[in-house]
Symmetry: C2
Subunit: 234 residues, 2 copies
Amino acid sequence: MTNNSKYYPHLSVDCVLIGYEDDQLKVLLIERADVVSNEKYNDKKLPGRLIYMDEDLDEAAVSVLKEYTGIENAYLKQFKCFGSPGRTSNPKDVRWLENAVNLQIGRLVTVAYMSIVKIGARSNRIDSDYKADWISLKELPDLAFDHNQIISEAIAEVKKLIENDPMILADLLPAKFTALQLRKLYEQIYNKDLDVRNFHKKIKSMKYIVELDEREENVPHRAARYYKFDKKKI
Amino acid sequence: MTNNSKYYPHLSVDCVLIGYEDDQLKVLLIERADVVSNEKYNDKKLPGRLIYMDEDLDEAAVSVLKEYTGIENAYLKQFKCFGSPGRTSNPKDVRWLENAVNLQIGRLVTVAYMSIVKIGARSNRIDSDYKADWISLKELPDLAFDHNQIISEAIAEVKKLIENDPMILADLLPAKFTALQLRKLYEQIYNKDLDVRNFHKKIKSMKYIVELDEREENVPHRAARYYKFDKKKI
DNA sequence: TCAAAAGTGTTCTGGGTACACCCATGG
DNA sequence: CCATGGGTGTACCCAGAACACTTTTGA
C-alpha cells in the first residue's frame, strides 16, 4: 500500500450537484460500496474522488461531473475547502477510502464544488458503475464523512449564485414551464411563500423570460401560459 | 530532505490581511528571504505557511494571523483554495520553499483566508523576525507564487463581506472618525465617488454609527463632527 | 354550476440618486 | 475677506410588499 498510484492521496474534490424534480430541490448522491470486498455500507456520499498527481482541482471537478452525469461545459463553482483533521476520523470512512483507492490515507482535505444540473436531460446519463440517485434536500440521510455539512454550505452558495445570475434557473426547469412552476422553485430556494401578483410582475420585468403562445392542455381548470428562458437576452 | 518534519508538505494557508491607512486600502506583505542561505529574493509574499501534521486549516490561519499581527479572535474567512499544479512551477518559488522548510515539495495547494485588521492598533505588533509592511493595493509589486491573484480575489470578498456586515468597517478606522474619513473609505472600497449629502443621509440611517459631541480642533476650516461605531447596536 | 387554479392593478414604503447653497474657521 | 472644507433638503425613480376579485376550464 505504498504510492505507486496515479492518485495524489492528500486532496480530493467533491461535487454537490443540485437539481429540481417534483417541486423539490435534489442533490445527486451515490451509494457507498467497497470495491474490493463488495461490502455494502448502506449509506451514501457525494460524487467525488482523489485528484491525480498533476491534476488541476477545477479539472478534477469537471471530470467528476462528467463521469456521473455525462455533462460537459457546465458551470462548476469551487465554494469551500474542508480540511479539519476530524473529517477523516471515522474508522468506517477511513477503511472504505483506503480500500477504494488501495492507498494509505492520512488526513484528507477535500475541495467542494457545486453545480446546477438539469435532472434527466439528454446529456444526463447516470453512469451504471455507480448506484446514483437524486435525493430531496428535505429527506437527506446521514452521509459519509462531513458530506451533510458540505451540502448545507452548498445550498447557501446556490442562493447567492441565483441572485446574481437568475439565468441558471433555466437548468432547473423544463424548456417550457408555467408561472406556477417557476414560483414554486423560487419558494423552495428562498424557503418562503411568494405573492402571486407580485410574482407575475416580477416575471414581466425579467426580459430573459418570454411568454409563449402555448398553454397547458387537458387541465381541469383554466390553462396556464407557458414561458421559456431566452438565452439570447442575457 | 525526507519528512521527519512537523509539516504536512501538501497544504499551506495564506492570509490576506486588509487594513486602511492614509486613505488607502493596504495589505500586509512580508519580505521573502532564504532562511538557509540568507539570500535576498527582493520580493514579497503573503503571510502564510505549511500546515502542521494534524492541524486544522482554520487554526493554522488563526495562528498565522497571530504570528504576524499579534491579533487574536479576529474574524478570518476562508474564501478560496488555490491548487493548480502551475502555481508551484516557478523554480525560484520552489527553491525558496524547499529551503525554507527543508522538505521536498511537489505540488502545493494553498487555502486562502482573509481578514480585516486595524493597522497599528495596540495588539498589532508586527513580529520582528520578518520584514513585514503594509502595502497599498494601488502599488502592489509582483509577488511570489500566485499571490497577486489571491489578493485580487480577496478584495472581491471584502466587498461582499462589508455589504452584509458594515460593522467590520470599524476595524479600518480609528475609534473616532469624521464623515469624510468614512466616505473616503467607502470610495476606496467601491472605487467610485460618493455624493456628500447622500452620504450624510446614509450615515444617519446606520444606527450603529453614532454622532459624538466632539469636533475636530485646530483645523483651518469649519471643524468636522466625530462619529464612532456603537457595537451594542448590532 | 361548481371546483380549481390562472391572471390582473393600485397603493405604499424605503432606498438610491441627482443636485446647489450657506456655514464655520484659521490665516 | 478669503480659502477650505463642513454640513444641509427636496424631488424623482425604482423595487419590493400588501392586498381581492374576475376569468377560464373540465367535470
